[in-house]
């Protein structure tokens, strides 16, 4: 089910939370809407779901103009950052809620709930209450609940934001696998660029209510259309007057580098190392390299080194 957004605008008081946003989301894709806080990405998601109505513009899902349609009838699944569990119902009843509202038979609900709980690996928690689940389990329940109604589109509003780093990483992988299995058109809102890069096959970057760039994640990473996108999607540093990725620089002997400088700081982060170099002209830059490279080069603080772009030859 493809989604087509045309010129969506939404104002809160005088500020435009979403300002003339148009986008095409392909059928079956996993699209990440990425941006800093206040960029309008959550509002955009709410507009797609119908939980907010736009001041201008249209939302078309699979050819149907749903702009004026109540969220009840849009056939969308929505997951919230804080899971929004129905606390007084157990997991099974939570997951079956949408089907109960649609007046399916008890037998049908039971079968479908069991199917979904197996899918999200929560079968053993069917009778537990949300208060007894961990954060990750609650979000999996929320997903199962949203999927129960067989939605055309799945919308996720910073679904992993409230979870700790380890669980977040696990769920990211799990979500990607789930999506590959189910092929439901999914739109994910996040401010975590690593999450977006890892999981999405289409990226929409937003800032101050507008779409800044959209396309395949790697394309945006390698060919950013603006410095904002460049800096938002990955680390940057300034070298020889231009903005460049720290892992596109390398450290060599003073004679081989295009610029010379002194190492002022070395930070070891697990697999990688960040080396800060104060260049002879006074500016500071940093280089990202692997621990192996670091130890092979035998670098230490206060050493004089040469810096050059990777792939640059002195010829």
């Amino acid at each position: 089910m493809s989604i087509s957004l045309k010129h969506l605008t939404k104002h809160y008081n005088t500020t435009a939370a979403v300002d003339d946003v148009s986008a095409e989301i392909a059928h079956g894709s996993l699209t990440a809407v990425l941006g800093p806080s206040g960029s309008g990405k959550s509002t955009l998601l709410k507009l797609i779901s119908g939980l907010e109505s736009p001041d201008e513009g249209t939302v078309v899902i699979d050819g149907d103009d749903v702009t004026k349609l109540d969220p009840r009838y849009r056939d969308i699944g929505f997951c919230f950052q804080h899971y929004a569990p129905f606390r007084h119902m157990n997991v099974a009843k939570n997951v079956g809620f949408g089907l109960k509202v649609r007046k399916r038979s008890a037998k049908e609900i039971d079968a479908r709930v069991r199917e979904l709980l197996a899918l999200v690996k929560l079968e053993h928690k069917a009778k537990s209450y949300p208060a007894q689940l961990s954060g990750g389990e609650r979000q999996r329940m929320a997903l199962a609940r949203a999927l129960a109604i067989e939605p055309r589109v799945l919308l996720l509003d910073e679904p992993f934001g409230a979870l700790d780093a380890v669980v977040r990483a696990e769920l990211r992988v799990w979500l990607k696998e789930l999506h590959t299995q189910l092929q439901v058109t999914t739109v994910l809102v996040t401010h975590d660029q690593q999450e977006a890069m890892e999981v999405a096959d289409q990226l929409i970057v937003m800032r101050s209510g507008r779409v800044v760039q959209s396309g395949h994640p790697l394309a945006l990473y390698e060919r950013p259309s603006s410095s904002f996108v460049h800096e938002f999607l990955g680390p940057t540093t300034i070298f020889a007057g231009e903005v460049i990725r720290p892992h596109d620089l390398e450290l060599v002997s003073i004679y081989e580098g295009t610029h010379k400088g002194r190492i002022t700081r070395i930070v070891l982060l697990g697999f990688e190392a960040h080396v800060t170099v104060e260049l002879s002209e006074g500016t500071t830059t940093w280089i990202q390299l692997s621990r192996n490279e670091l130890s092979k080069l035998g670098l230490r603080v206060a050493l004089l080194v040469g810096v050059r772009r990777r792939g640059d030859l002195d010829d």
Partner: protein, 293 residues
Amino acid sequence: MSPAPSSWRRWPSRLSLPLLAGGGGALIVSYLSLIVLIPIAALVSHGLSVSVRTNGTGLEFWRWHVSIGLGAFWRAVTAVGARKAIWLSLWLSLSVASINAVMGVAIAWVLVRDRFIGKGLLEASIDLPFALPTIVAGVVLLALYGADSPIHVDLFETWMGLMMALLFVTLPFSVRAVQPVLASLDPEIEAAARTLGAGGVRTFFLVVLPSLWPAVLGGFGLAFARAIGEFGSISLIAGGIGRTTTASNYVYNLTQGFLWNDAASVSTALLLISLFVLISTGVWSRKYQRRTL
């Protein structure tokens, strides 16, 4: 030369806490005994005709002989007047607490979710029955609904009149019990229900109300306890001794006739009823809370 804190300077503060807390605690316990515990004990003791005989010296309490005169208690409580009065108070309070439980939710909803000119007035008027002295309410309600009523109703010495007074007096309890809970409900939960296909009414009954239920029960308990004990506001509109004599009125009449032991007996019965309702609604609402938190 390091200024390490000397141990003697630490000593008083470590000791002062137990002293302070202990002393304060003792004071509080003494006060509570004076004001509540001893009077209630005296009440129940007189009500149940408890008598203690000490065989041997007074301090050997294993030799004390405690007898409870349930006969007198029973007689006082099952006297015709008492039976009617207690029954009246019971069903009046149950009805009033129930009506205000429903209206309390409605009023709380409007206060929390609606916006209109004059809402502040509504908010303030909810507290009025609580802040208003009961006798003032009694005078006004009698004047308004009594024999010379300007709106041409005569509820003097009728159950309807009693109900109006009790609804008035218990309103704040029902509303204020529910209001803060409603205000702190997570809006995402209702949004989730909407995306899953539930409309306003279904969302209310399937999702909102269950979350409110512990508070509604708590409010019901408070309203019931207040209603069953209410005296000032209904004493006037109830008129003379008869069909509209509530339990507290009955006890008062007994004291005017200097029948203190009978008054104590009926009071003890009422005390037990109030405590029972409070404890059971408390238990129920806590059970719900445990599940939903």
